[in-house]
Symmetry: C2
Subunit: 243 residues, 2 copies
């Protein structure tokens, strides 16, 4: 391994170290749950300052590549959960197929008047009622998505916590309300975790996340659900194939 950082490079030293550590992980030299060398070891090994080491490690922690355990050291994270953007988005189904034991916790369900922004997406009137459904979605015991769905009451009257405990939302729509979700449009953008969401996702405020808005349509192209999700960036990665 090349242990010399290039101080004449346009790449700052912390960035060079960060890429070396990343390379060690991606090439499999360091495996998930392995402890990495201490700050002191890295300072000596590469002849750099503590600040440089700290910055490189902090960046990799925020990106979800490394994690710290108080009083023990810094470790290599498990690989991120991968989610395809091709084919219809179903969190529980994809996670089940991979044996990643998904679980949903319903945080709250409430009937409300639609706010203008929500009404516009769902093409309903602002006076119309919607169910606002907040769920936390887990994979292998880790909370990874905080999801808020809005479903027009007129399409799914008497939607309830009890009903949703027994069925996935889309299964319920199909079985109880005869609504077949056949298409969805998604927009997404990277954001920072806010303190409100950090509580549900058990992650620090300011960590990277993906904000994902989805409109689901039935077979007649009627929007039947608007869903706003916050996906943990330190635990999830997306992929797609472009032709």
């Amino acid at each position: 391994m090349d242990k010399i950082l290039d101080s004449s490079s346009i790449l700052p030293l912390y960035h060079q170290l960060q890429e070396i550590l990343r390379e060690n992980i991606e090439s499999g030299i360091w495996k998930p749950s392995d402890i990495i060398p201490s700050e002191n070891q890295l300072m000596q090994e590469y002849n750099i300052s503590r600040n440089t080491v700290k910055k490189a490690i902090e960046n990799l922690v925020q990106d979800g590549i490394l994690y710290r355990v108080q009083g023990k050291g810094t470790f290599v994270s498990r690989p991120k959960f991968e989610q395809s953007l091709i084919g219809f988005y179903s969190f529980s189904k994809v996670m089940k197929e991979r044996g990643l034991s998904p679980m949903d916790v319903i945080e709250n369900i409430e009937k409300k008047k639609a706010k203008p922004r929500i009404a516009k997406q769902l093409k309903i009137n602002e006076e119309d009622y919607v169910f606002e459904l907040k769920r936390i979605r887990y994979a292998q015991g880790e909370p990874v998505i905080f999801e808020t769905s809005y479903i027009p009451e007129k399409y799914c009257p008497r939607l309830s916590h009890e009903k949703l405990e027994r069925n996935s939302l889309y299964d319920l729509m199909q079985k109880e309300y005869g609504i077949f979700v056949t298409k969805a449009k998604e927009t997404f953008e990277p954001i920072l975790i806010k303190s409100y969401e950090s509580r549900f996702l058990e992650v620090e405020e300011g960590f990277p996340a993906l904000a994902l808005d989805r409109i689901a349509f039935d077979a007649y192209e009627v929007p039947v659900e608007f869903c706003h999700s916050i996906v943990r960036g330190d635990r999830c990665r997306f992929y797609t194939e472009l032709l």
Copy 2:
């Protein structure tokens, strides 16, 4: 407009204010470049503390919804650039179609031995040479993507700054080297802007961004380019349609 925040709600006050401000923008009450009320005005209007107002505004600034001008106030941002993930990804083409005058600046091009991680993606040997091409991509005069491409030398010998000034990379591959890029695989994840990239993208360290890895394949499914991009989250949004 409802001016009362609900202090008994599980939603923190800053979050409620943030959503009201967001609603004003998305519903078009406030337009791009409009100044928003001052901190003092918002404090009085909603009967809340300065910290609550500051936190709501800071969150919207980081998400790219608002921007600050020193000594002048806080303004509504222009809408984000939208980029489809369906169909083949070509930044210049899409931006041109929308009249958003794209521009590329070549920061650096250098011949290097492939690092293990890059060699693996390109299915070449670690001893093989690649061109490392760093570019900054602009839309309407704003830097939005910082892109690092790796192209095996054996496929595109004598690739140079001059050649790339006159042609897009894929046009050049086609015209000069007979390589037709027909498919690409992308993975992406939200990250924070690091200080190294913040310089090129003219955005503060710690702002949200998308890290996008693309492998481009030719008609024979040979990987011909590996590209790592950092896309500004405060200026870009992605969309896709799922069937």
